[in-house]
Each structure stands twice: as C-alpha cells, then as structure tokens.
C-alpha cells in the first residue's frame, strides 16, 4: 500500500472502529432498559458506510434507513447527539422525538433516516435534484438494504434519477436478508445490480467487507457523478452479524444458521483492513491501538452524555410540528 492510500486507509479504519465500538457498547447496555427505543445494529457492515463516506464532503447529502447509526457516524455525525437520541433525550439530534431510526445532522450533510423501508430513496433523489440545480459538484447518496429493492418506489426512483440525469449514488448494502427472509425468497432475479443496469446505469459491485475495494470503486463512481451529473449504483455484498433488531444474534428464530454467522464473522471487515495496514507498515499497529483507545473514550463519553441528559419535558411535545 502506498503512503497516500495508507493515510486514507487509516481514516477508514478509524471510522469503522468508531462505528463498531459505538454499536458494541450500545449492544452491551441495551438490556439495561435505560431506553426502550428499538435499535438496528450495523455490526459487520462498517466497511460500506466508512469507505463510501470517505469520498464525501459535508456538502454532500446522505440519506439512510432504520439501520442508520453507521451512516451517521461515517458522515461525521456527532456521537453524543446520536447516543442521546437513541436514549430519546432532549439533547439528541432529533430532540428525543425520533429515537434510533430518526436521526439527522445537517451540519455534516446527514439529512435524514427513515423507518419505512425505501422511504428515503426518492427523497435522496430529490436532494440530487437540488444539487443539480445548484450546479456545483455536490452529490446525494442513498444507503439502503436489499429489502428496499423489493419496493416499487425504489424502481421509480432508479428510473427518474437516470431519466433526469441526477447526481446520486445509490448504495445497496446487500446483507442477503430482509428481516427473516433471504433474497432468494423475495426476488425472481436476485442479481439486483444486473436489473438496475438495464436502466442505463453504470453498476459497480463490490465485496462489502473489503473496505479498500469499496473505497476505490466508490471513488471512481463518485468522481464520475460529480463530473457528469449522472447517477451510479453500487451493490456491496455483506452480512449483518447481529439480530435484525436488538443486541442478540437472532439464532433462535431459525432463519439463519450459526455456521453462516460464523463464516461472516470470520470475514470481519475490520480485521481485513487492520491486517492490510499492519502488513504495509508495522508501526501502524501502535497507531491503530491509539485510535482504538481514543474512540473508546469518545463512546464512553457519549453514553455518559446520554445518561446525564434530561428526557424531553412535556412542553416539548409540539416542538417542530410546523415552522
């Protein structure tokens, strides 16, 4: 790995570790019932958000789903305000009105997440329309799962973005399942990228657990979008380690095998980039340890921040209905 790439790779690994440690600590405290809000954890998929967002600026728009913590963190969202929102506190990024599935930080271009499957996909296309009219190099990015491509509104959005040549990157994180149902039980042609390509898209497929592969493919795609204003589609294959919702592994329900979860745990995206960095330069080992130490403090602080923040008082209930 050349020096310049290794700096980028360290940045990506730092983001991945921030997401991993945040999610793992969150999983750890979820059973305490300090908050009731359901959480959809991103553990195992960190490479995708981290590597795509490494190519974005605060001016670029990002939209996400029910599984949004990773995207928010990768876009540079504030950890304290995220943890506080999950705890439904007044200091949360949505003032405690939304919880885990409804987060925002416009200051870094993380516009919104939604709990409705595919809900933010057309919205992200709308942001691309704004970007196109502003005629700068801004782009919009929609993150979503394979499940979202079951919805009609996904295909409507794909068509419109291509038709009007809008600067948007669609990022499909194909983790093989929509809750309990595998893609094979939901789609006649399971090659999502191939289907999208028939709309005239340049479709990029990547191993979603290989951060550097995602990074370089997303980089090429995003540079193309900025230059041409034409949309692109990235399908990254991955797997969620934990339950669809909550901190367990969902092994008791019978829709996935322990063997498969273990296989994917073995393909840990963090371990891969970590080893690549250490192979390049032994000194990176210490650097990574430093980074990890720093992040553990950040995450512990965010939990403390959330715990010591007040829940919204009753008079906040109407806040934000209209402007």
């Amino acid at each position: 790995m050349e020096e310049k790439l290794s700096i980028t790779a360290l940045n990506i690994l730092e983001t991945m570790l921030r997401i991993r440690i945040f999610e793992q600590e969150l999983a750890e405290i979820t059973p305490n019932k300090e908050f009731n809000c359901p959480v959809h954890l991103y553990v195992g998929q960190e490479a995708i958000a981290s590597s795509v967002c490494e190519n974005l600026t605060d001016q670029d728009y990002v939209f996400s789903t029910h599984r949004s913590h990773g995207h928010y963190i990768a876009k540079g969202g504030n950890l304290n305000r995220l943890m506080a929102e999950i705890f439904c506190r007044e200091t949360g990024c949505s003032g405690g009105h939304g919880g885990s599935m409804h987060i925002t930080d416009k200051s870094v271009g993380f516009i919104a997440s939604s709990a409705i499957v595919a809900g933010t996909i057309p919205v992200a296309v709308g942001a691309a329309l704004t970007a196109k009219r502003a005629d700068n190099s801004q782009i919009s990015v929609a993150f979503f799962g394979d499940g979202a491509t079951d919805e009609g509104v996904f295909w409507e959005s794909i068509n419109i973005a291509a038709l009007y040549e809008l600067p948007i990157l669609f990022v499909c994180e194909n983790n093989l399942f929509s809750t309990h149902l595998p893609v094979s039980k939901r789609q006649a042609n399971q090659d999502i990228g191939e289907k999208v390509s028939t709309f005239g898209y340049k479709v990029i497929k990547a191993d979603g657990n290989d951060a550097l592969e995602v990074y370089s493919k997303a980089k090429t795609a995003i540079e193309g979008i900025r230059r041409t204003h034409k949309p692109a589609f990235l399908e990254a294959m991955t797997f969620r380690w934990l339950a669809h919702v909550g901190p367990t592994e969902d092994l008791d329900i019978g829709y996935r095998r322990k063997k498969d979860v273990e296989y994917w745990r073995g393909r840990c995206p963090i371990k891969l980039i970590n080893n690549q960095l250490i192979d390049t330069n032994k000194k990176n080992k210490d650097r990574i340890q430093e980074i990890e130490k720093k992040i553990k403090v950040e995450v512990a602080d965010s939990i403390e921040f959330a715990r010591t923040s007040a829940l919204p008082s009753a008079d906040r209930i109407s806040h934000g209905l209209y402007n």
């Binding site: 809000c37 359901p38 939304g98 599935m101 709990a115 499940g147 829709y255 829940l311 919204p312 209905l321």
Partner: protein
C-alpha cells in the same frame, strides 16, 4: 382456512413470530407456504394482488403487521379494493379481509405507532371494524372473511394480553352494531378497541364515586352505529367519546356531529372528545406518557362534565 380452501393469507412478515405478535403460530405448518404467503417488502403490490385474487374467487386475508406500512398500499386499497364493485356497477365484489395491527409505544416514534381507523372510516366501500375483546376478535375476523366486501379488521397489540373464554367452535359475530357494555344514567361513554379497556377502568373508578356511566363499545367504525349512541344520549344527556387516533377529523368528530344534530335538545352539556393530540407520535417515554389518553384522562373528562 380449514373450512374454506379459497381463504389464504398474504403479507410482509406474516410467517415470523416477532412481526405478528405470535398470532400466526402454527399456521405455516398446517397450511404450508401455499396458503401462508410471506412476501417481498412490496405493500402496494401485495394489496393489489389480493384484490385480484378476491375478484376472481379467492378470499384473501392481507396482514399488515403495522398499520403504518399501509400508506404504501393506499392506492390499491382505496382506488381498487374499495371502489371497484361500485364503479363497475356492482359487478365485481371484492371479498377481502385486511388485518391491520396497531403497534405503538416503546419509543418507536411516528412511523411505528399509527392508529389510522379514522382515515379508513372516510373511505366509502370499506368496512372498518375494531374489536375490543377476544370474543369479537375471533367472531368478527371470521365474519370479515365470510363477508363479500373489503373489510378492514384492526387489532391493537395492547390488547393481546386480554383473556376471556371464547367458544372453541366456528362462530361469527356481526360486523356492525355497537354494544352497550354497562348501563348507566349520568354520562354516555363511547370507546373502541383498546380504549374500551381504559374506559372500563374509568367506569369502575367513577362508579366508586357514584357517577353512573353508560359504556358503549363501538365494535365497528364503518358502518357506525350512531343509533345506539343516540339512544343512550337521549337518556343521559351527556356524551364523552374516546378514540385511540388523532382527534381532528376523526371518529369522535363524526359521532359528535351526528349526535349534536340528532340529539340536540337532549344534550345537557357540550360533547367531550378525547383522542391523540394532532401530532405524530413522539419517541421519548416522557412524551409518550402525555401523548396517549388513558383511564385517568377519561375519568377527569367525565368528572368535568358532571
């Protein structure tokens, strides 16, 4: 499903225990994937497919594990399921059951909390029922399946812990008609679905305070049995309506309008309407606790009226 082979179930997530609150347990084993169709996340398509199956001799039951996801299905439900038969001159009955669950609380926020009965009550061509007890839950669901129209059967997960002896055999209970649960002379109290449970608690508390409440369970929202309510109001002269949905333009507004016209000279006090404030559901538990009406809300409204 045993009785009638044309009945099948379809919907997003129907074969997972966690989506449907254990209410489909064992059905997949008994009826196989052929009659228990767990679909892609494609609500509007699924709704339309059910309409088509119903138009051609099947009796589908479409389940929405949360009403919130029905917004995607609105076009097929309203423009097609509800209007087809009328618009096609009565030539295309749509014998369709839509089972929609209200699943709220637990800091799930606005998109995982909705109780949309009033939206659907507005749609001509749909029947909308909301049972409050196990007997009606079974009887009205079976009646909905037998009915030759689209019937929206709304069940509230906050009622899933309720227990009552119900006949083990097949039976139906009518899809229309309110039910007087308690006789009283001071105030008529009208509720539906989960709010009946809160209203029953209020009834018991108020009885201790010597306030005699006549309690009415709506059971059906469309058609709405205003006659049973009017009969009660002519006696009590006072009406409190409590609904688990938004207040503005909702069930309580409709009832209040009908009763103020039909019972104008009987009313001793203006009608009181209780419902959700006109806000999307907030997440934080402190806000949830002021957002949802409960038995205390009902008790103070009734006391205020007396």
């Amino acid at each position: 499903m045993e009785k009638d082979d044309s009945v099948f179930q379809i919907g997003v997530g129907i074969n997972t225990p966690w989506f449907v609150g254990q209410t489909m347990n064992g059905l997949l084993d008994r009826f196989s994937e052929e009659r228990m169709i767990d679909t892609p996340v494609s609500e509007n398509g699924v709704m339309g497919i059910a309409v088509g199956a119903a138009a051609t001799g099947s009796r589908p039951i479409v389940t929405f594990p949360r009403m919130d996801f029905m917004h995607y299905a609105m076009d097929q439900l309203v423009n097609h399921a509800a209007f087809f038969n009328y618009t096609l001159g009565g030539n295309l009955p749509i014998p369709l059951t839509i089972r929609a669950m209200i699943n709220r609380g637990g800091e799930q926020a606005s998109q995982h909390s909705q109780a949309l009965q009033s939206v659907f009550m507005h749609i001509p061509g749909l029947k909308v029922v909301m049972p409050s007890d196990p007997y009606d839950a079974k009887g009205m669901l079976l009646a909905a399946i037998e009915d030759n129209n689209p019937v929206l059967f709304i069940d509230d997960r906050w009622l899933y812990a309720e227990e009552e002896e119900v006949p083990a055999d097949y039976f139906t209970s009518p899809l229309e008609g309110a039910k007087r649960l308690e006789e009283g002379k001071d105030v008529s109290l009208v509720a539906s679905s989960y709010m009946v449970k809160e209203a029953k608690e209020a009834y018991a508390e108020l009885k201790k305070k010597n306030i005699s409440v006549e309690l009415i369970d709506l059971r059906s929202i469309s058609p709405l049995d205003t006659e049973t309510i009017a009969l009660s109001v002519r006696k009590t002269g006072r009406l409190v309506i409590v609904d688990g949905g938004w207040k503005t333009g909702g069930i309580s507004a409709e009832i209040a309008a009908v009763i103020s016209a039909d019972c104008h000279s009987d009313l001793k006090k203006p009608v009181i309407r209780l419902g959700l404030p006109d806000l999307p559901a907030p997440a934080a538990k402190t806000l949830e606790s002021v957002y949802y009406p409960n038995s205390s809300t009902v008790i103070s409204a009734v006391q205020h009226m007396i």
